[in-house]
């Protein structure tokens, strides 16, 4: 910004030079931090003349707040591109205005309003634009309805846990006082979702009706009769009557009209108060939307997957965090450890979990946050769990223990029970992290090659690279959370890929290897193997090898 108005007089002078601005110092209100200048525009004929007196709003004193055009409140939901305050959105990318000086900004806003908005509004060319952002307008509508704030229902958002289907669905559910209505026919996700939110429950009968198209605001069903007419068209007279004429009015009802790109909720309170039908906001909450935003086609594989994660320590807890937030449907957590203060710095659990089972705490805390994922704690040793479990019932086993005995036990078990295996560990100081993916292959030795040994990037570590806890024989590897997150990231990435990839008899080793700049400043320096040598200017690389 290079040019700005220092005084109101300068502003007035600039406005007077514009044929479209009607500067009147008596009407200028600068007390609330902005100036509103009436805009003259060509007279519009009925029914287009609903813009009221458009104002050019110029924030005063702060050049970083952009100017805009404001229309009368009566135009809200009648004119597209208008927000709930009457602010008109004239540009696809308003940030572009920041490239210009204040006077240029004002000119561009006024020009766009007069030259682009007005003729397109008058001709009706903008009317279809309501269909581009239906959720925005529905949000404005629900916020404005009812007009009395005291009548506004609290926490009446509908959370839609299932995707839109082509057929209508009807089911019993609940309204949670602290959240809103939990909508899903699918029982497991809904049950875990309901358990996650500790709140008073009220029964609610839900009808989800697929509709063909989103609405223009002028066609929102505004009465119960109009809502019924839309239901009749979509699901037939018989089903509509069944839902609306049922005798059980003691239970609240929710009708969700589900267009392909917008959901419209109508809440009917219990006890025959049908006249107070309330339009409510709907939030997509199905796993596809939460975790894939409809772009990741593999999300279906994740949601239907059952994983066993052996080891709920630092690495395991971070892998778990990523997998649950990626939409995996079920994870069994196997770990016999208790959570201690020294774990806090590198684990996803915190102080509330002290003295408790890592597996159980992760299950209850992560499970409450991401109820899409069924978490099953197994507070026992890996050995015991492997002995009593048919691992072929899982889609994937993740070994995040870094322990030889567990590795060998899993290999033995996999020789008779087929399951894909991901084994992950880190080298000292996280100079390297490795993920090994076994599909059909079960052994660590292939053609005389020991894959465990082959995977490592460094050799010749001194024996005391592990530190001892004071006054205790327990030892631990020194590393920090920031490094750990990189290792957890590549492991989780491979776990998710393994759920979608076709099995192969090859073993894949993916390694994150740090460069000289990092390894040379650690307490100990080991010998770098040839395959892991990186150019001096490379501080880290992901290297994939197949065996």
């Amino acid at each position: 910004m290079t040019e700005s108005f220092q005084t109101q007089a300068e502003m007035a002078e600039w406005c007077l030079s514009s044929p479209w601005l009607a500067w009147d110092s008596r009407k200028v209100d600068s007390t609330r931090g902005y100036l509103s200048i009436p805009i003259r525009h060509p007279k519009l004929s009925q029914p287009r003349d609903i813009l009221g007196q458009p104002q050019l709003v110029v924030p005063s004193g702060d050049d970083h707040v952009r100017p805009y055009v404001k229309l009368a409140h009566t135009a809200i939901l009648k004119v597209p591109h208008l927000d709930e305050e009457g602010k008109l959105c004239l540009f696809a990318d308003e940030e572009e205005l920041d490239y210009f000086s204040r006077t240029e900004q004002l000119s561009k806003v006024v020009d766009r309003f007069i030259d682009v908005f007005i003729p397109n509004w008058e001709s009706g060319n903008l009317d279809e634009h309501f269909y581009d952002e239906p959720e925005n307008y529905w949000r404005i509508y629900t916020n404005r309805h009812p007009t009395k704030k005291s009548e506004k229902p609290q926490n009446l958002t509908a959370y839609l846990l299932s995707r839109r289907e082509n057929k209508f669905v009807q089911y019993d559910s609940y309204r949670l006082e602290d959240l809103g209505v939990v909508c899903s026919r699918e029982s497991n996700f809904k049950t875990r979702f309901l358990e996650s939110i500790k709140s008073t429950r009220h029964k609610c009968n839900v009808l989800e009706v697929p509709i063909f198209c989103s609405f223009q605001p002028s066609h929102y069903p505004s009465t119960l009769e109009k809502l019924k007419a839309i239901c009749r068209a979509a699901i037939g007279i018989k089903e509509t009557q069944k839902f609306f004429n049922g005798k059980n009015f003691s239970v609240a009802r929710l009708i969700v009209l589900r267009a392909p790109n917008c959901d419209y909720g109508y809440y009917l309170p219990a006890e025959g108060k049908l006249k107070v039908m309330r339009p409510i906001i709907c939030e997509k909450t199905d796993p596809d939307w939460l975790f894939g935003r409809y772009e990741d086609l593999n999300i279906v594989n994740y949601t239907n997957s059952k994983i066993a994660l052996i080891g709920a320590g630092s690495l395991g807890s971070h892998i778990l965090h990523i997998l649950t937030h990626s939409g995996v449907g079920e994870i069994h957590l196997i770990d016999s450890d208790i959570f201690k203060p020294a774990n806090i710095g590198r684990h996803t659990l915190g102080i509330k979990s002290l003295g408790k089972s890592k597996a159980s705490q992760l299950s209850s805390i992560k499970g409450a946050d991401t109820p899409n994922c069924k978490l099953v704690p197994e507070h026992c040793s890996a050995q015991k769990w492997l002995k009593q479990t048919d691992i072929s019932k899982f889609n994937l086993i993740i070994d995040a223990t870094g322990e030889r005995t567990v590795r060998e036990l899993i290999a033995t078990k996999r020789s008779t029970q087929h399951v894909t295996l991901v084994t992950a560990w880190m080298e000292p100081f996280i100079t390297a992290a490795h993920v090994v993916i076994f599909y059909d292959q079960t052994k660590w030795n292939i053609n005389g090659l020991n894959l465990w040994n082959e995977a490592h990037a460094f050799e010749g570590w001194p024996k005391d690279y592990l530190l001892s806890e004071p006054g205790c024989s327990s030892r631990f590897a020194p590393y920090t959370l920031d490094q750990l997150s990189l290792a957890a990231g590549i492991t989780a990435e491979e776990c998710l890929s393994a759920l979608s990839n076709k099995p192969t008899d090859q073993v894949k080793i993916k390694s994150w290897v740090r460069g000289h700049a990092y390894t040379s400043i650690q307490k100990y320096i080991a010998e770098r193997r040839n395959w892991a040598i990186l150019p001096n200017n490379i501080d880290g690389a992901i290297i994939t090898r197949q065996f």
Binding site: V116, E122, F212, C213, H219, A233
Partner: protein, 422 residues
Amino acid sequence: MAVTKVDYRELESKANGQKIIQEGAIYDSISLEHFQPTKVLPLLHHVNEFISIKEDEISAASGAYEDLADILVKKLNWPRENIKIHPQGSASSSTLIRSPNSNERFDIDAICEVDHLDAYKNGPIAFFENIGYALEGEDFEIEMKKRCWRIQWRGKGYYIDLTPAVKSNNISLNETNVKYFIQNTEYSEDAVWVVNEPTREWFSSNPRGFNKWISDRNLDSKFLIISPAMEMLDEAYRAEAEPVPDQAISLQDNLLLAIRLFKRHRDIKVKRNLLSAEFKPISVIITTLLGQCVNAMRENGRSYSSIVELLEVLSVTLPKLVYFDGKNPIIPNPTAEDENFADRWLEDDNQRMENFFTWTESLRNDLKKLAVARDDSSRLDIIKDIFGCSGLPTSPEPKGGNPLATAIPGTPSRSVPDKGLA
């Protein structure tokens, strides 16, 4: 199963009598005085123009027919002269209209008539599938439908539903896998056999005969509006109401105008979720009932003062032309009366039937609003609303895109992304 013959003259007479009894007083009061053809006809033709698909778009699709025929010749070794592809349905009867949903492609129904024994000697499915195989591996996507192959080109605004067909005298009625409807003799020379894939049968059909029938009925409709009203169109309004050059219908094509406007009205109701997209009244039913209606009106000697009055009476009469044989709704195909277009109305909890009557009721109410409107401004608003043409009349061409979404002039270009990166 033979369908009961429907006497449309009688049904129309009954409907006319009921209308006079129920609405006589109101109707008289709003006759000629308010049905101002000089005011409304141009607006309706603006709507018609608004919903039209431009001739060059249809021509582009028609151009693809030759390419499709060449593919069949090349891949199936059928003689070129024995393959004829031509439009059918709304594409050939001037009743094709634009979808109200922007970005939705329009479909051009085409029939691929093959007159070559090698093509159909192995039965209907081999014939149907061979055409599908031949269309594979080209620069378009194909999808099998019940009686046709849907052909879609990337980036084109239309798709073609290509129905393979064989001349009717080439298949014997004695074969076991045929479903034959006796053809109306007036149109029987155009009958063909198409393949009904789900039942693996030859199915008698007559798209060209149906077009001729619409054309004949359109002629009937030209006599329904009494000439004095037409003469009220002064020169200025006549000029305004002239159809644009590439528009296929004229001021007197009352049936074609009615079909197009009614189909548009239906599509708008679907878009507003007041009709089911799945169970909405199908075009062939709307077309057939309107055609039967104008025919019966002419035979019963009716006349109307304006197109608005005609449209309103059509909307009132239409639902009453559905004949019920007991509980079974009957809408015979006018070119083969044993074929009942309403044969699926009692499936799916009667939703097709419900949607038909819901639609005709809303159409009647909407047109009544137009008929009783007292000034031009109200008429314009009603027409814009009921036919979903908010751009009328200053901008008859619906404009794509968002004029507010363009970059601000003078904004420096950016070569790397700088938004949504965290």
